[in-house]
């Protein structure tokens, strides 16, 4: 049994229209996504804006209403009890948000921010709470004295660490990280990524890492799923995706990554032209009439690609 198993997840948002504001249509933000995570690994969910990657993450943790599908965590079906709030699941699964500047309440002190989940789930005395928060801050590499400071007194990377301290306060098993480094400078990004890897080993964490920067994804993830317009186009190990992309959309995505070697400029340019030509030529082979991806078909044990059924 997989650690986290998501089956045919759908999240549809209604579009209101007409004179009476009735629901006239749905935005299929997530349209039949299935994925499974093994304990202690990192799963990368990649896509461009509007692909539904963030909605998928939010639906798993219960921040978006699930239209249909199933979410299984450690063998238990938690699709519907998510909304009940303080379930065991809410303690075991935490989220790290993208923007360290807006995801921390500026009027609260660090101790209140980090202790918030503790206050919801554990009854601790003031003294115990303070000790726990100090331990957590030390764990994320901030000085324990900073508990009385406010978020604006920290740099971006430090703030993201505060967000992580809050996320790991309840010793979760799974962390959903929604673009945790997108708002950070490269050197700070490196700091946060390294740190995430360190605590993963230390606490045996599992990550669902949502992102758009393929360099970061490749660096962090064991398995990767590529989303496009609410559906998967390809799923596989990092190696499958980067060395042997099968879907034309994945190929284009991988080709678009700027290469850090200026000597390869011409090569890259030609390669992109090729991929672009292939994309335009074979678009109809890879997408259905509505421009959506087909269901995934296995091409190897680990590698699945959205292709039309043969025949």
């Amino acid at each position: 049994m997989a650690f986290l198993n998501v089956e045919d997840l759908k999240v549809h948002f209604p579009i209101k229209g007409g004179i009476f504001g009735r629901t006239v249509d749905h935005v299929k933000a997530v349209d039949g996504v299935s994925l499974s995570l093994e304990k202690g690994t990192t799963y990368g969910l990649v896509g461009e804006s509007g692909s539904g990657k963030t909605t998928t993450g939010r639906a798993i943790i219960g921040l978006n209403k699930i239209t249909s599908g199933k979410v299984m965590f450690e063998g238990k079906d938690i699709t519907n009890n998510i909304s009940r709030g303080r379930s065991e699941f809410r303690k075991d699964v935490q989220m790290i948000f993208q923007d360290p500047y807006s995801s921390l309440n500026p009027k609260k002190r660090v101790i209140d921010i980090v202790a918030e989940p503790l206050r919801n789930y554990e009854k601790l005395s003031k003294k115990e709470e303070k000790i726990r928060v100090q331990e957590l801050l030390e764990l994320v590499g901030l000085s324990p004295e900073s508990i009385l400071k406010y978020p604006h007194e920290f740099s971006g990377g430090q703030r993201q660490r505060i967000g992580i301290a809050r996320a790991i306060a309840l010793k979760p098993k799974l962390i959903i990280a929604d673009e945790p480094v997108s708002a950070l400078d490269v050197s700070v990004q490196a700091q946060v990524l390294n740190f995430m890897q360190d605590i993963q080993k230390e606490l045996d964490l599992t990550y669902l890492f949502i992102g758009h920067d393929l360099g970061v994804i490749k660096h962090m993830c064991d398995n990767i799923g590529i989303m496009y317009k609410g559906r998967y186009v390809e799923e596989g190990t990092a190696d499958d995706i980067f060395s042997n992309p099968q879907h034309i959309y994945t190929k284009r995505l991988v080709a678009a990554i700027p290469d850090i070697d200026p000597r390869k400029r011409q090569e890259q340019h030609e390669f992109r032209q090729e991929v672009k030509a292939e994309y335009e030529q074979s678009y109809n082979d890879y997408f259905d009439d509505e421009g959506l991806a087909y269901p995934l078909q296995p091409v190897s044990d680990t590698h699945r690609v959205a292709l039309p059924e043969k025949g």
Binding site: G18, I19, F20, G21
Partner: protein, 320 residues
């Protein structure tokens, strides 16, 4: 766009129904009725009950409500006990006066607020801006009825520049030029007094809109295109800042209603506001409920107007 308007108008219906129910309940909750205190104390209480019965005042509330609403639709707002004439007729005379007072006030409000708001927003933190901001704070802090009294005393009584009561000089023939001029002459002081106080909202609003727009990225783009400072102001900052002000217009109407109640009483101006207060003191309930109902409807229409203006001027809403 038309869909938005139709939907917006449909939303108004429950609002107006709710308003009418509230107004009706309020009227019924007032202590005493038009008969108590107005009739000869020697009249037999049983006879009074009979009158009440005949007037339908002992019916269950929903029947009374239905009667009342039915009447309103036919233009029958009931009978005033004080004036002994239909409420519709009394209001008919007054509403025109209040309408013109409101128009004049709005004109003054915008004549004051737009230049002040623009100056204040454009040169924010300058001395001039500080002066204008101080004025707005004073405006916020000063109660309208006290300010209006001071204005009346200074310009009406001490300097004698303006008439101190009424809406027109007596003895003039309606429709003549003198009659119109006299109407306008009577309007100026109350309208100006009210505008000076109510305009501070708009000044502040416009100022903060301008300061806000000034810091937008597209202003940088405009400068990077080589647009001169004055062009940046007129083409980009001002246009984008005036838009919410235009939308605010409908809500100004709501503000005016509160103002007219005070101002008309102080300046002895025969409008709806004056009628309202007089009727309360005399317990002329049918007039009070009618006036409250009309004020309420005016507010709802004001909000509607705001939304429609906004949808007209803002492409982000218009296109939908």
């Amino acid at each position: 766009m038309w869909k938005f308007t139709v939907r917006r108008i449909l939303i108004m219906i429950p609002q107006i129904i709710l308003l009418s129910v509230l107004v009706f309940i309020m009227a019924k909750m007032m202590p005493g009725d038009a008969l108590s205190g107005m009739v000869d104390p020697n009249v037999d209480p049983e006879r009074l009950d009979e009158i009440r019965e005949n007037l339908g005042w002992n019916d269950p509330w929903h029947i009374q409500y239905a009667d009342w609403v039915g009447g309103v639709f036919q233009g029958d707002l009931g009978q005033s006990f004080r004036f002994k004439m239909p409420v519709t007729e009394i209001i008919g005379q007054r509403i025109v006066n209040t309408f013109w007072l409101s128009v004049a006030t709005l004109v003054f409000t915008y004549l004051i607020s737009i230049p002040l708001g623009i100056t204040s927003g454009r040169y924010n933190d300058s001395l001039l801006d500080q002066a204008i901001t101080s004025y707005t704070y004073i405006g916020f802090a000063t109660p309208l009825f006290i300010f209006a009294l001071v204005m009346l005393w200074v310009f009406g009584f001490m300097l004698g520049w303006f008439p101190t009561s009424g809406s027109v000089a007596p003895g003039l023939e309606p429709g003549t030029f003198e009659y119109v001029m006299s109407k306008i002459y009577h309007l100026i002081l109350p309208a100006f007094s009210m505008a000076l106080i109510t305009t501070v909202n708009t000044v502040q609003y416009l100022r903060s809109e301008i300061i806000d727009t000034k810091q937008k990225d597209f202003i940088l783009t405009a400068r990077a295109k080589g647009a001169s400072e004055s062009r940046v102001y007129n083409r980009h900052i001002l246009r984008n800042s005036l838009l919410p002000i235009a939308a605010f217009f409908g809500f100004e109407i709501t503000g005016l209603i509160g103002g007219t109640v005070f101002v008309e009483n102080i300046f002895g101006y025969p409008g709806m506001g004056q009628l309202f207060l007089e009727s309360i003191t005399l317990r002329d309930y049918s007039v009070v409920t009618s006036v409250v109902l009309l004020f309420g409807i005016a507010s709802i229409l004001g909000a509607l107007l705001s939304d429609i203006i906004l949808s007209l001027v803002d492409p982000r809403i218009r296109i939908k």
